[in-house]
């Protein structure tokens, strides 16, 4: 198996700021994309000969395209506010994982080639030449940033390390040094339609299975429709919802909510991915190509509304960028938000009184909620400030009896990343993922011990997979992570009975048993 041995950090009573240890993470690297992963995205297949020139040109291009990028590189006054805010620093002690340390890896090159002082007196202003070593350092440390933006909450200038990280990855891609994990996945979306590479028939088979499962349990024919023209709602959800656990339990929940709400809805093979890794690699062009699939699907199916399933960065792209990337969405029903989050949809139905719950179905669990970075710090839900914090919690509290929050400085806009976001959810970065999870694990362990919490609920596919993997490193059980709509699914009472002929497999010979 990939990945060297490493020590799992020991959890302490509080989230402590560790003493610096230089170079603890400099050995980290991740698999480099091959030509077949690079070229379909419009990047050179391998490191180009004149890479230095191309990289500096690319930096200049990004500086001219994104004013924010230049402001972030110019504005830092080394005040130190960000230094103890990054989960990767807290878990690894490596000063280059301090947000300012990470930014400086790029800033020193910016100063050398784009500022007067750096061109003529580089040593005085910490400017440095772009060398092979710098490229390697960028590749390592910009793949130790999950672009969670926690540091930017505390920066008095609002410097967003995520944007610097995205720019660094874009520059690396432009010289042919891409990351295999992200770029292979984006290629699958362009070619097949989703991160997993699930072809239509596999999605169809999976959805039929879900219909059978719900029928077996409740004797109600809840439908999980695919590519139904004329449906009112297009649900766009991460492809992990079709594939992994506990994600799929959330998907089952969305279907039950739509069923009880009595709305017509559909999934789409063309838009079978909510996630958009184009954002992780800072590539506007790839992010746009991925987003356009949603627009095309919505037009082809003739839907009136678009609802997004539980996916963190998808919601950032959807809420903050979709309209400029793939809009205008003037063909959708203007009475509904474009797009709408599934938690918003469910809470609306709860408030209208269309859904009935038996909360005791979740009495075997006591829940806490993990705010996913991109939802918490880059979006909103509903029409009130803070809706992205309140709405998922209100949904959870409507379906469970036992709920407790984690410590105030680890939730809401101060939430700690799961450790696997931003394109790091790959086995070759397991050490980074485990160490970066430390602050979240500390807060979760504390709420388990103090309040008797047993399960962590999340609304992000990456968070769910990451926790499944890192819990065991910290002595917890991989099944302690649940989807929010899994809790909804457990508690919802299916009152809308269906005629027998709608049952899965009705009229077919039962030759299975």
């Amino acid at each position: 198996m990939a990945g060297a041995e490493f020590e799992t950090p020991e959890l302490t009573e509080f989230i402590e700021v560790p003493k610096l240890e230089e170079g603890t993470m400099e050995h980290i690297t991740c698999f480099v994309a091959k030509p077949e992963h690079q070229e379909p995205l419009g990047f050179p297949g391998e490191k180009v000969e004149n890479w230095k020139e191309v990289a500096i040109d690319k930096m200049g291009d990004l500086l001219s395209r994104y004013r924010s990028f230049q402001v972030f590189l110019d504005a830092c006054v080394k005040c130190g506010s960000c230094t103890d805010k990054c989960h990767y620093y807290l878990g690894s002690k490596d000063p280059k994982n301090m947000p300012v340390g990470r930014q400086d890896l790029l800033r020193k090159v910016y100063r050398r080639y784009f500022t007067f002082a750096g061109k003529y007196f580089p040593k005085l202003v910490g400017a440095a030449d772009l060398t092979d070593e710098v490229i390697d350092e960028w590749y390592s440390y910009f793949h130790q940033c999950s672009q969670c933006r926690r540091c930017s909450v505390f920066c008095p200038y609002g410097i967003d390390t995520a944007e610097i990280s995205m720019a660094a990855r874009e520059i690396l891609d432009s010289i042919g040094v891409g990351q295999k994990y992200c770029n292979e996945i984006i290629g699958k979306v362009h070619k097949i339609g989703n991160n997993l590479g699930l072809p239509g028939p596999a999605i169809e088979d999976t959805l039929e299975g879900l219909e059978e499962d719900v029928w077996d349990e409740d004797e109600v024919a809840v439908k999980y429709p695919l590519d139904v023209k004329g449906a009112d709602i297009l649900l766009v959800t991460p492809s992990a919802d079709f594939f992994a656990e506990p994600h799929v339990d959330g998907l089952i929940g969305y279907g039950k909510v739509f069923h009880e709400a009595g709305v017509s809805w559909t999934l789409s093979t063309k838009a079978s991915e909510a996630g958009n890794f184009g954002m992780f690699i800072g590539s506007y062009e790839n992010m746009r190509r991925v987003s356009l699939r949603i627009r095309e699907a919505a037009l082809e199916l003739g839907v009136k509304r678009i609802v997004f399933g539980e996916c963190g960065h998808a919601w950032r792209v959807a809420y903050s960028f979709l309209n400029t990337l793939a809009g205008p969405f003037d063909f959708l029903d203007p009475d509904y938000p474009v797009p709408q989050h599934i938690c918003e949809f469910t809470l609306n139905e709860i408030e209208k009184g269309t859904l009935e719950f038996d909360k005791s179905e979740n009495d075997d669990m006591s829940i806490t909620f993990h705010d996913s970075c991109n939802v918490a710090r880059a979006t909103r839900m509903g029409d009130k400030p803070g809706g992205q914090f309140d709405i998922p919690r209100e949904v959870i509290k409507a379906v469970v009896n036992n709920y407790h929050d984690m410590e105030w400085d680890t939730i809401h806009e101060r939430t700690f990343c799961c450790g696997g976001g931003g394109g790091l959810l790959t086995d070759d970065l397991m050490e980074v993922r485990v160490k970066g999870a430390k602050p979240r694990m500390t807060a979760f362990k504390n709420v388990m011990e103090e309040k008797g919490v047993t399960h962590l609920a999340a609304i992000c596919a990456i968070c769910k997979s990451q926790f499944t993997k890192v819990f065991p490193y910290y002595g917890m059980d991989m099944f302690q992570i649940v989807s929010v709509h899994q809790l909804v699914s457990n508690a919802i009472v299916l009152n809308r009975k269906t005629p027998p002929e709608e049952a899965p497999g009705y009229g077919e010979d039962d030759d299975d048993e």
Partner: protein, 110 residues
């Protein structure tokens, strides 16, 4: 990277997955399992064979739920869950079992 079985070489990628699906033979699974300190039993083979059949039809590994359901139908309900699969394949049915079966690694937010 590569694995050697009786003088025959099987090319693998950097993560240990077989480069050519069609190269696969049962010995590949045995050799990979040995490297992971696992001994393949009939229970493991049930899963590996199912994965290969499913892949042949759908060009992708089955979703975890599809797999657990198939196992439950074949081997009894008490075995139709992820816990059982993780007991057989500690690195995860999706990744470890796929590797043994010669399938490409599932990618994405999983």
């Amino acid at each position: 990277m590569a694995i050697e079985i009786n003088g025959k070489t099987f090319e693998t990628d950097e993560e240990g997955y077989l480069t050519n699906l069609s190269d696969w033979e049962p010995g590949v699974a045995e050799a990979m399992a040995k490297e992971d300190d696992l001994e393949l039993t009939d229970e493991h083979w049930e899963i590996i064979n199912f994965l290969r059949e499913y892949y042949e039809e759908y060009q992708i590994a089955p979703a975890v739920r599809v797999l657990t359901k198939a196992v439950g139908k074949k081997l009894g309900k008490e075995k139709g869950n992820s816990k059982y699969l993780y007991a057989l394949f500690p690195y995860g049915p999706g990744k470890q079992a796929c590797r043994f079966a010669g399938l490409p690694k599932p990618t994405g937010c999983i």
